[in-house]
C-alpha cells in the first residue's frame, strides 16, 4: 500500500496536475492582488476555455497545443471586456457586491454551457495522449510533461512581464497603492481590466494544457474554483511564488488523498486544507499581512 514506487508515481502525477493548478492560481492571484476581488467566475472561465479547445478540435481539427495561440489571446480580450464593462460598473466598488457579480457571471456561464451543450462529458483524443515518457520505473503521459514544461514557460513569461515591462510596473503600482497610481497618471480602470485579462488568459492556457488528459462538462469549473482559491489562500493572497508552490502542493495533496481515501472521497483533502488555512492562517504561508 505504501510502496515507494506507487507513492513516487502518485506524487509525480500530483505535481503535474499541480503545475496546472499553479497556472490557474497565478491568474487568480493577479486578479486578487490587483483588484482585491475574489473572482468567482474563474472556474467558469476554465470551463469555457475547455469547451473552446474542445470545439476547436472537433470542428476545426485544431490540436490543443496549437490552440494555445488562439484561445488564450481570445480569453484575454474577453476577460478585459468582462472586467471593464460588466464587473466594474456593477460592483460599485464594494467588496461583497463584486463577489455577487462574479457569482452571477459564473451562474450564467455554467448554465449557458449546460443549456447549449448538455451535461454529456466530452473529451478529445490526441496522439500525444497515448505517448508516455519514462522516468525510471514510472511512465507519465506526455501531455502531462508538456503541461509542466508549458507552465514553467508561462510562469517565466509572467515574471518577465511583471518585472521587466512598463505594464508590469504599472500593475504592481496599482496593486500596492491605487490612489497614488492614479495620481501619477496610470489609468487604474485600464490596469484592472488588463490584470483581469491576463488572469483569464492564464486560465485559458491551463485549459489547453489540461484538455488532453481531462474531461469537459459544464460542472468542471465548480471543483476548480475551490482548488484555485485554496491555492491562492495557501500561497498567501497576492504572492505569486506562494501561488505556484501552493498549486504544486495541492496537486500532490489531491493525488495522495485520492490514493488513501479513494477516488470519490479524495477530493476533500483539498477542501479541508482550505478550511484549515482560512481559519488559522488566512494570510497564507507566504502572504503579505494586511494592515
Amino acid at each position: 500500500m505504501f510502496d515507494i514506487g506507487i507513492l513516487t508515481a502518485v506524487t509525480l502525477n500530483g505535481l503535474t496536475v499541480g503545475a496546472i493548478y499553479a497556472l490557474g492560481a497565478l491568474g487568480l492571484t493577479l486578479i486578487y492582488g490587483v483588484l482585491h476581488i475574489i473572482n468567482f467566475a474563474h472556474g467558469s472561465t476554465l470551463m469555457m476555455a475547455l469547451y473552446a479547445c474542445f470545439f476547436l478540435h472537433q470542428r476545426a481539427g485544431v490540436d490543443p497545443y496549437t490552440a494555445l495561440l488562439i484561445v488564450p489571446p481570445a480569453f484575454f480580450v474577453l476577460g478585459y471586456a468582462l472586467q471593464r464593462y460588466l464587473i466594474a460598473p456593477l460592483g460599485f466598488g464594494k467588496d461583497i457586491n463584486v463577489l455577487l457579480v462574479t457569482l452571477g457571471i459564473s451562474i450564467i456561464l455554467d448554465n449557458l454551457a449546460l443549456y447549449l451543450w448538455t451535461s454529456n462529458t466530452r473529451n478529445i483524443d490526441i496522439p500525444q495522449a497515448q505517448m508516455f515518457v519514462e522516468l525510471g520505473d514510472i511512465s507519465l503521459a506526455l501531455p502531462k510533461i508538456i503541461g509542466v514544461a508549458a507552465s514553467i514557460v508561462v510562469g517565466l513569461l509572467f515574471w518577465l512581464l511583471m518585472t521587466q515591462t512598463d505594464l508590469g510596473k504599472a500593475i504592481r503600482a496599482v496593486a500596492r497603492e491605487r490612489r497614488g497610481a492614479r495620481i501619477v497618471g496610470i489609468s487604474v480602470d485600464h490596469i484592472f481590466a488588463m490584470s483581469f485579462g491576463i488572469g483569464s488568459a492564464c486560465i485559458a492556457v491551463a485549459a489547453c494544457l489540461l484538455i488532453p488528459t481531462y474531461y469537459v462538462t459544464p460542472k468542471v469549473g465548480d471543483g476548480f474554483v475551490l482548488i484555485a482559491f485554496t491555492t491562492v489562500v495557501l500561497g498567501g493572497m497576492g504572492s505569486f511564488i506562494g501561488a505556484l508552490l501552493g498549486g504544486l502542493f495541492l496537486g500532490v495533496v489531491e493525488a495522495w488523498s485520492g490514493l488513501w481515501l479513494g477516488e470519490s472521497l479524495g477530493q476533500i483533502g483539498v477542501f479541508i486544507i482550505f478550511i484549515l488555512v482560512l481559519l488559522f492562517k488566512p494570510n497564507g504561508l507566504f502572504g503579505q499581512r494586511n494592515t
Partner: protein
C-alpha cells in the same frame, strides 16, 4: 414603529391570501408551483436571517439544508424512526452543524468573502462525504419509502403539503419579524452595518452571530426535512450542491435582504421567471438558473436593495 405595524398588516393579508390559495387551485401542477414557491420562501427566509439581517453572506447554505434532508432520511430508513421524530433530530442536527461552522468561522474572525468561501467549502466537504459513503446512499442518494399518511409526514393530497410548508414559512417569517422588534435583532443588524462600532457599544458580536447562524441553520434544515418528505429523494448534488445554496441566497437578495417580505417577493419573482423561461426556452436544464443569474446581475445593477428597495423608498 409604524413601519412595523404596516409590515404586520401586510403579512396578515399575505398569510390570509396564501391560506386561501388551495381553494382556487385545482390542478396538481399549479399546487406544486405554490408548494415550491413557499419552499423557496422558506429557505430564502432562513438565509435572510443570517445574510440579510446579519450581513454574513453564506455561499454554502446547502450544508444545513442537506443535513436536514439526509438526517431525516437516515433516521427513518436506517433506524426506523417515525417521520416527525426524525424531523426533530434532523433540525437539531442542522443547528449543530450551524453551531460548529459558526463557532469555527467567527472565532477566527472570518468575514465577508472569506466567510462566503468557507461555507462553500464546508458544503463541498459534506457533499463529497455523503456521495462516497454507503450509509448515505453514496452516488445513488437516499429514497424514502412511500407511506402516505399524516403520521408519516406524507400526504396523498398535495394540498396538505402546501399547508405544511405554509406553516413552516410562517414560522420562519415569525423569526424575521421577531428580529425586527427585538434587541437581538437590533444587535444583529448593528453588526451587519458596522461590526467594530457594535462591539464598542457593548455587543458581544461573536455570540450574536453564533445565535443567528444556529437559527438560520435550523430553519434551512427544516426546509431540508420538508424537501425530503415531499420528493422522497435526495442525493449529494441536490442536498449539498451549489443549486440549493444559490437559490437560498438569490431569493432574499432579489426580493430584499433584511426585510420580512423580501423572501416572498424573491420567491415569487424567481418562480415566475422560472415559468417564463420554461415556456420560452423549453425545459432544458440550465435555462432556469441562467435566467436567475441574469436577474441577479440586473438587480445588482439597478436595485442594490433588492425589490424591497422599491417599497421602502430608501436611498
Amino acid at each position: 414603529m409604524t413601519n412595523m405595524k404596516r409590515q404586520t398588516q401586510v403579512m396578515l393579508v399575505l398569510i390570509l391570501a396564501l391560506v386561501l390559495i388551495p381553494l382556487f387551485v385545482s390542478s396538481k401542477f399549479w399546487m406544486g408551483f405554490w408548494v415550491m414557491l413557499l419552499f423557496h420562501a422558506l429557505i430564502g427566509q432562513s438565509w435572510n436571517i443570517l445574510g440579510g439581517y446579519g450581513g454574513q453572506t453564506s455561499y454554502g447554505h446547502a450544508v444545513f439544508f442537506g443535513t436536514g434532508a439526509y438526517v431525516t432520511a437516515v433516521m427513518q430508513t436506517h433506524f426506523g424512526v417515525n417521520a416527525w421524530a426524525g424531523a426533530g433530530v434532523a433540525i437539531a442536527a442542522g443547528a449543530i452543524v450551524g453551531l460548529f461552522i459558526g463557532a469555527v468561522s467567527f472565532r477566527y474572525g472570518l468575514r465577508g468573502s472569506y466567510f462566503a468561501l468557507v461555507t462553500l467549502a464546508f458544503a463541498e466537504v459534506f457533499r463529497v462525504i455523503v456521495n462516497a459513503w454507503d450509509f448515505t446512499g453514496s452516488g445513488f442518494g437516499m429514497l424514502l419509502a412511500l407511506k402516505p399518511g399524516a403520521a408519516h409526514m406524507q400526504f396523498a393530497d398535495r394540498q396538505w403539503f402546501y399547508y405544511l410548508v405554509l406553516l413552516l414559512t410562517i414560522m420562519a417569517t415569525g423569526v424575521a419579524m421577531w428580529l425586527e422588534s427585538s434587541r437581538f435583532g437590533a444587535h444583529l443588524v448593528a453588526i451587519r452595518e458596522n461590526e467594530d462600532a457594535a462591539k464598542a457599544l457593548g455587543i458581544n458580536t461573536f455570540r450574536v452571530k453564533l445565535k443567528a447562524i444556529v437559527i438560520s441553520a435550523a430553519l434551512a434544515a427544516t426546509a431540508g426535512v420538508f424537501y425530503m418528505q415531499y420528493f422522497l429523494f435526495v442525493d449529494s448534488h441536490i442536498g449539498y450542491g451549489p443549486s440549493m445554496s444559490i437559490s437560498a441566497l438569490l431569493v432574499p437578495l432579489i426580493g430584499g435582504p433584511g426585510t420580512v417580505l423580501g423572501p416572498f417577493i424573491g420567491a415569487l419573482s424567481l418562480g415566475v421567471l422560472s415559468e417564463i423561461t420554461k415556456h420560452t426556452m423549453g425545459d432544458s436544464p440550465g435555462a432556469n438558473l441562467m435566467a436567475y443569474g441574469v436577474l441577479l446581475l440586473v438587480v445588482l445593477r439597478f436595485l442594490p436593495n433588492g425589490l424591497m428597495g422599491l417599497f421602502r423608498g430608501r436611498s
